[in-house]
Amino acid sequence: MQHHQGILYRVALAYCSDDEDRKDLMQEMKLQVWEALPRYKEQAQISTWLYRVALNTALNFYRENKTKAKKKQLFQEDSLRVPFDDSPNREAMLQQLEQFIQELDPLDKALMVLYLEDKSQKEIADILGLSISNISTKVNRIKSRMKKRFTQFNPDPHE
């Protein structure tokens, strides 16, 4: 489970900008993973299964609008957001990337997360339940939006 916490964290990062909401969503995802575990079929890849549970939980969370931050923390997570002390520029870039993802609609967010996780188009298709050609079209569309956004903010001096 700990090995896969990063996946849950990054999915939560895409769907919640608020720290408290993000922690709530992570708790919800952990619970859902725990509860869905008996239904896990070994022929499926564990990461595919985990992304499905995480993204479905995140979308349910979004839909139910659970934005009331709760103070009670069952897991002792002081702060999940880790500053990049050694590289402020990377931190700024990451913030920009997060902001870009936050602005996407809920389904594009899912696609974007999977793309950034470096999942193959086949894996993305398996997780989302779309055909590979559909994924390819969508990914290209979002990539071009992302490229435009990052060029706008960070014009490459070599170009």
Binding site: M1, Q2, Q5, G6, I7, Y9, R10, L13, E28, K30, L31, Q32, W34, E35, A36, W49, R52, V53, L55, N56, L59, N60, Y62, R63, E64, N65, K72, L74, F75, Q76, E77, D78, S79, L80, V82, F84, R90, M93, L94, L97, D105, P106, L107, A110, Y115, L116, E117, D118, I127, L128, G129, L130, N134, I135, T137, K138, K143, F150, N154, D156
Partner: protein, 222 residues
């Protein structure tokens, strides 16, 4: 910054988390606590209370109406009897639909592909509007249950005109709402006015999400 840089930047979040050792230690006890907390969180007292009151209303009301039908039909005020019957039947249908939806939502497997799962959940959530539509159909019978045969003998024309107008307005409103409470009207003032409040937000979001899923599938198929 190219695609690969962005991917490694995104994935570096995990690396940093591991390095700082800030990953929470989970154990059985914490999971158990979380399950209890989750269960209590989903049990919204007002909703449960309303549902229980509805079941009680249908149970007691149904028994009374059924008894009148069986044992005292000849002496009964038929306006009251049929109004009550329609009201109780519609409430029972609304409760049954609501409970059926809750069960289906609870049974959905969230480890299935995301779009298919979300489509199922969003469709079920947004169909909660059907409960409201059904309940609105009761409006006219609230204006007829107190009628009785003696009213026809003694009441004057003016009072009957007022009564007829009220019943007609309620009937037209009920049918109109039943037909028009639909996603396409979500931005209309009257729709927002009826479905105003936190309780309705998840339903409206579900409808929005369902719309997005359909668009998503259509746009990628195109």
């Amino acid at each position: 910054m190219n695609d690969q840089d962005l991917k490694s930047l995104w994935q570096s979040t995990q690396v940093k988390m591991d390095q700082h050792g800030q990953i929470a230690k989970e154990n059985q006890l914490a999971i158990r606590q979380l399950q209890i907390s989750h269960f209590l969180h989903t049990m919204k007292p007002l909703k449960i209370f309303t549902l229980l009151m509805g079941i009680l209303w249908v149970g007691i009301g149904g028994k009374v109406v059924l008894n009148i039908f069986i044992h005292a039909f000849d002496q009964a005020n038929l306006f009251f009897l049929f109004s009550a019957l329609i009201q109780i039947a519609l409430t029972a249908i609304a409760i049954a639909v609501y409970i059926y939806q809750l069960i289906l939502i609870y049974r959905i497997d969230i480890s299935e592909p995301v779009l298919a799962t979300q489509k199922k959940v969003a469709r079920l959530r947004s169909s909660t509007l059907w409960v409201t539509k059904i309940l609105f159909l009761q409006l006219p019978v609230w204006t007829t249950f107190y009628w009785n045969e003696s009213m026809f003998d003694t009441s004057n024309l003016f009072l009957w005109c007022i009564q007829g107008m009220i019943t007609t307005i309620f009937t037209v409103a009920a049918v109109w709402l039943f037909i028009n409470i639909r996603f396409v009207n979500r931005d209309k003032f009257w729709f927002r006015w009826i479905f105003n409040g936190n309780e309705w937000d998840p339903i409206l979001r579900a409808m929005e999400l369902l719309h997005q899923i359909n668009q998503y599938e259509e746009s990628t198929e195109a």
